[in-house]
Amino acid sequence: MSECEYIEPEVLDKIQNICVFMCNECGQGSANTAGVARMAYEPAIRIVRVQCTGQVGPIQIMDALNNGADAVACVGCCLGACHFFNGNILSMHRIKLMKKLFKELGYSDQFVNQYTSRAAEGETAVGDFEDIVERLANAIREEGTIKDGC
């Protein structure tokens, strides 16, 4: 993590739980590959298995944030390679709308993000996780955690 960007310990302390919805195919696959390769990432990342990122709706995202998650992310297959045809694209549009909603509500739009990963490459998943933490750290520095604003 520190290779990309230094995150102050006081900011890192505020990152406790990040709820990551990973699809059953490339999402889970890439996290497994990352695990097999022992690629370290932030322990705040908590993975929830869903069938497809297209299954994750606003209800799930809001539930996670409401129950104490600091950020939510969806990790699906690469665009064009969704195992259920276009679930990742659906999810991407949904997350875009969620970001708009967050902005309108006065929160940072970095609390919710969509990513893609490749089952064969653990780096893609770890890269996604690092990006989640980085974006969240930036948001916390600028505006505080989602709990502060609540």
Partner: protein, 676 residues
């Protein structure tokens, strides 16, 4: 396998919830695996097991060295027998690795395999947080809690055996369709082969030579065309089109419309009718390089050999009716529709050659630019049965061209046209044709203007080298324009040689455009009838580009050949063979097994907006007569995409219900609502 035999006939019981009736209190057994030191070295497994035992509904929480070993599995079995555990949670490795071991174990004890919840504390926790043991243990606690929460409401999911119809439909009788149909028939499966044109064989019969070995395509394909035409298990319908497709994997009902040939089957193909027909129109099969009559046979070796009347061109002079020695011609024939039941469908609709009229600077098809032709036309000229007697002659004046310029990537790798893809075969056939022409006319200049020469694969680089050796000139650069010299009336190809950075004006007696392969005409309506998705280029979209390039977006419908994307003949044949094998599997087996992990609809909540139907990629949601959605259990792929689309939450995927996910989310998010 706990498959309920009596449910086999119960295919149409739609909307019915397939959950076991028992409302027993969840008794959860939690098993934490050490995995040697893999998990225990980082995560305090004893603490995890202890914490798990405090969670509600947990009756047994244990940790063991290797859960996947026989004693480990026995622990699970014993807990089911002794303590009445009815839902199991194993915190060990990934679901892919040992999920099956544990589901098999609980199945042996009579529990449904969907009552098992696998928690991955190795790949997702211990292996990636080896330096942060405390935090890893904390995370493992949360993950196990989430698993227990999720397991609490897990329901039984039935595996159903669905009988399949032992017959297959193949759409398109080109090389791909013929290969698939023949392979299926050889497996003993009755095949309905439907072809839009009046003859079978497709584009391959039009070619002169096939690369890289310069073999005769007609000779390569004729055993297959004859084999298909004479196979007792193949029912061939030419001049036919798909009208309607209903049903799903294993059981389709297909309606086709067969246009009349106006010539009865007793035709001896003597050719008297065509010889006396007064009407002449350009031959489609010959790419317009020769003429045919209004009553015609596409080419002498065509199968079926019966003549066919082109109703649009015919002037109804009745000469053919009078002259036919066997009275085979009948103008009163009517189109007929046929319906048949099939289990699998293979789409082998092939491709069309890109029409370059769209590219204005090349003036293809315009007055005064007759000498700008496509590669397929050049193939027709070179072919042994051509009007030019296999000579390359300028269409404008019939002279042998002194200089031939071939232009690559016409219609492909072109953002202005909208086709970003590389067709992949144009380089190969252009090099092949250039070599053939250069060998025929050593005095002529043959030039290929290319962007990149793409000749991957065995024998193709050798073909490229051999073309260079015989003296074919290669210029790197995409021509900007084809001009006509106003004085000499000769064609000039304007191109920049990007390797030497010199602008060139090439004199050309004949310009050959290597046109791309594009989706065939009418693929849009066909795709919508089959309910399959198309890629943005217009080809039918495969299920997964790497793992299953043959299955379409809908189960039971397979793709063969160039309909999935541009392919050469070898690739097409391999693809078609794969399609046949995949399509045959459920038919040979006689049934498909399907886990009924499907969404259920609460019709009290449903507002009949139809949004679930719009997001359903495999088209598994139908709208009933009263406007309410019905889930097609067999077509459903259990992706759950319909769930968030529903504005009222009426549609819920079994075992992924909103409240089941909520339970898991509460645990992983730290628990305890922030805002009340």
């Amino acid at each position: 396998m706990t498959v309920k035999e009596e449910k086999i006939d119960n295919i149409k019981s739609l909307g019915e919830k397939v959950v076991s009736a028992d409302n027993d209190e969840p008794q959860i057994g939690v098993f934490v695996c050490h995995c040697g030191h893999n998990i225990a070295g980082t995560v305090d497994v004893a603490k995890v097991a202890e914490y798990a035992s405090t969670l509600p509904n947990v009756v047994k929480a244990e940790h063991y060295m290797f859960m996947c070993s026989k004693p480990g599995v026995q622990l699970i079995k014993d807990s089911i027998e002794d303590l009445g555990v009815n839902r199991t949670v194993v915190a060990s490795c990934s679901k892919n690795q040992h999920g099956r071991t544990f589901t098999n174990a609980i199945e042996e004890m009579g529990l449904n395999k969907h009552r098992h919840q696998q928690v991955n504390v190795r790949e997702y926790c211990s292996w990636v947080h080896q330096k942060e043991k405390e935090k890893a243990t904390d995370k493992a606690l949360k993950l196990v809690e989430a698993g227990v929460n999720r397991a609490r409401k897990l329901e039984d999911v039935e595996t159903r055996k669905i009988p399949t119809t032992k017959a297959a439909l193949v759409i398109g009788a080109g090389i791909a369709g013929l290969r698939s149909a023949h392979d299926l028939a050889e497996l003993g499966i009755p095949v309905y082969l439907v072809e839009r044109n009046s003859t079978i064989g497709g584009h391959m019969t039009q070619l002169n030579k096939t690369f890289p070995t310069l073999e005769c395509p007609q000779c390569s394909i004729s055993p297959l065309t004859n084999g298909v035409a004479n196979h007792p298990l193949i029912e061939l319908h030419t001049n036919a089109q798909i009208k309607n497709v209903e049903g799903s994997m294993g059981n389709f009902e297909v309606e086709i419309e067969i246009k009349p040939r106006y010539v009865k089957d007793n035709c001896t193909s003597c050719g008297e009718c065509a010889a006396h027909c007064p009407v002449e129109v350009p031959s489609e099969w010959d790419s317009g390089m020769s003429m045919r009559n209004a009553i015609y046979k596409a080419y002498p070796q065509a199968i079926p050999a019966t003549y066919v009347r082109d109703k649009k061109a015919c002037i109804e002079c009745n000469t053919c009716i009078n002259i036919c020695p066997v009275q085979a011609i009948d103008f009163s024939m009517q189109p007929e529709t046929k319906t048949f039941k099939v289990g699998s469908i293979i789409v082998a609709a092939g491709y069309d050659e890109y029409d370059p009229t769209e590219i204005e600077p090349y003036h293809y098809g315009q007055e005064g630019y007759e000498d700008v032709i496509t590669q397929l036309k050049l193939e027709r000229m070179l072919s042994p049965t051509s009007l030019t007697n296999s000579q390359v002659l300028r269409p404008s004046d019939g002279k042998i061209p002194k200089s031939i310029v071939m232009i690559q990537c016409v219609g492909s790798r072109n953002d202005q046209v909208g086709n970003q893809y590389c067709t992949g075969v144009c380089c190969k056939f252009a090099i092949k044709n250039a070599r053939i022409v250069k060998e025929m006319y050593p005095d002529s200049d043959v030039t290929i203007c290319y962007i990149d020469v793409r000749t991957p694969g065995l024998n193709f680089e050798e073909l490229y080298k051999s073309a260079q050796e015989v003296g074919v000139r290669f210029i790197r650069g995409r021509p900007s324009e084809i001009l006509k010299d106003p004085v000499s009336e000769e064609l000039r190809v304007i191109v920049e040689d990007t390797l030497s950075q010199t602008p060139l004006k090439l004199k050309a007696d004949l310009v050959v455009l290597s046109a791309a392969m594009v989706p065939p005409e009418g693929i849009g309506p066909l795709g919508s009838k089959l309910h399959v998705l198309r890629s943005k280029e217009g080809f039918l979209k495969e299920f997964h580009i790497k793992m299953n390039p043959t299955l379409s977006s809908k189960g039971g419908i397979y793709l063969a050949g160039a309909i999935q994307g541009p392919k050469d003949i070898s690739e097409t044949v391999a693809h078609a063979g794969n399609a046949a094998a995949l399509a045959a599997a459920p038919l040979v087996k006689g049934y498909i097994e399907k886990e009924m992990l499907i969404p259920t609809i609460d019709y009290d909540l449903c507002v009949k907006c139809g949004l679930c139907k719009t997001v359903c990629a495999p088209a598994a949601i139908d709208i009933g007569t009263d406007g309410s959605p019905i889930v097609n259990e067999i077509a459903c792929k259990s992706c759950g995409m319909c769930m968030p689309a529903c504005p009222t939450g009426a549609i819920q995927l079994l075992n992924f219900l909103d409240d089941q996910l909520l339970d898991e989310i509460i645990a992983v998010s730290g628990g305890g609502a922030v805002c009340e």
